[in-house]
């Protein structure tokens, strides 16, 4: 493979890597969710935490994204909203990921 061809691949991979990085930042930004006047990230950590605590009690406290305590009195509803937002953002990211994979395989 000549160096010109390698450079083309390198440029493409740089663009794809940057697009992926931006898409992940956008995903994290879209995962921000207000609940009971507090701010949460609808990511795997929050979902796992709420899911685990919910198995022990229907009324508990968690820290929000700015380390402020939030009283959760309806964990079912909170978890549903977290999962909905999480999957909405991951679905959008999945579509972009597919597009990028197609670009790379061309």
């Amino acid at each position: 493979m000549d160096i010109g061809h390698l450079k083309q691949h390198s440029d493409l991979n740089f663009k794809v890597a940057q697009a992926k990085k931006n898409a992940l930042e956008r995903l994290r930004s879209r995962q921000l969710m207000a609940y009971n006047e507090r701010l949460f990230q609808a990511d795997a950590n929050t979902i796992n935490l709420v899911s685990t605590l919910k198995q022990h009690s229907q009324d508990f406290y968690v820290l929000d994204a700015n380390d402020n305590p939030c009283h959760i009195t309806d964990p079912e509803e909170f978890l549903d909203r977290l999962i909905e937002r999480n999957q909405e953002t991951l679905n959008a990211y999945h579509q972009l990921h597919q597009d990028l994979a197609n670009k790379r395989s061309k």
């Binding site: 990085k21 930004s29 929000d64 700015n66």
Partner: protein, 250 residues
């Protein structure tokens, strides 16, 4: 409880900020659907095209500051922001530069939480070239005043009073915090006020940003296409601070 957007827009001899503001308003209408108040001067107000229902507040702004832009020193009318607490008619205010463009509803989520003052303390250069942040620019934890959310609380009042004080004695604070940037900059004034008062919440995700040497070559209401060096890339569905000032001139 009322929530709205507060913007400052003053044309300078070099930059048609009113064109940026017109585009900014269109994006706010599409994604945030909030009431807007624009603080401007008479000269700029006359140039703004009819934008529908907007509250205008006309002021005589200070015109004593400058900034470097693409190798030149240009006028920079940025000192009125210190009065945002008094200018805002809202309980929850999204104070926004007119070169910040919303392409998502993220700011609505932030506005629906409880805080005194909330702003970005991190930025993400979406070109991946790290053109934004310099090294050792001050001894201060930097914040970005581009988008600042505040609620009408006693603490927020104190923050804005402190910003006005910092603006008045800026050379002293500039020296104290070893700030290299020679001109008055709101990012530093806000950072100093929050540092002195030990207040403020930060937006958990970084602010997407494009440096002034990046050209915007196309846009629609969902995103923008940008060019730097030989690279062309795009962003969509992501709020972004664009430092190039001519892209809305047509």
């Amino acid at each position: 409880m009322t929530t709205g957007v507060l913007m400052y827009c003053f044309d300078t001899p070099e930059v048609n900020y009113h064109r940026l503001a017109e585009r900014c308003v269109a994006q706010i209408r599409k994604y945030l659907k909030l009431e807007i108040t624009m603080v401007t001067n008479l000269e700029t107000f006359k140039k703004i095209k009819p934008l529908g229902m907007i509250n205008y507040k006309l002021v005589d702004n200070k015109t004593t500051n400058t900034r470097p832009y693409r190798g030149k020193s240009v006028a920079w009318h940025n000192k009125e922001r210190a009065l945002a607490y008094d200018h805002s008619p809202y309980d929850t205010t999204i104070l926004m530069d007119c070169d910040y463009f919303v392409f998502s509803t993220t700011l609505l989520e932030l506005a629906n939480t409880k805080f005194d003052v909330m702003l970005h303390d991190r930025v993400e250069d979406i070109t991946g070239e790290d053109m934004i942040l310099g090294k050792n620019e001050s001894t201060l934890p930097l914040v970005w005043a581009t988008v600042t959310l505040f609620q009408k609380t006693a603490n927020a009042r104190r923050v804005f009073d402190m910003i006005q004080h910092v603006q008045q004695y800026y050379p002293h604070y500039q020296n104290l915090y070893r700030i290299r940037y020679p001109n008055y900059r709101n990012d530093y004034a806000f950072a100093i006020a929050l540092h002195q008062l030990k207040l403020g919440n930060f937006i958990p995700t970084p602010m997407a940003m494009l440096a002034d040497r990046v050209d915007i070559i196309d846009s629609d209401d969902e995103g923008i296409v940008f060019k730097y060096d030989d690279c062309v890339n795009f962003t969509s569905g992501q709020d972004v601070h664009i430092m190039e000032k001519e892209w809305c001139d047509g």
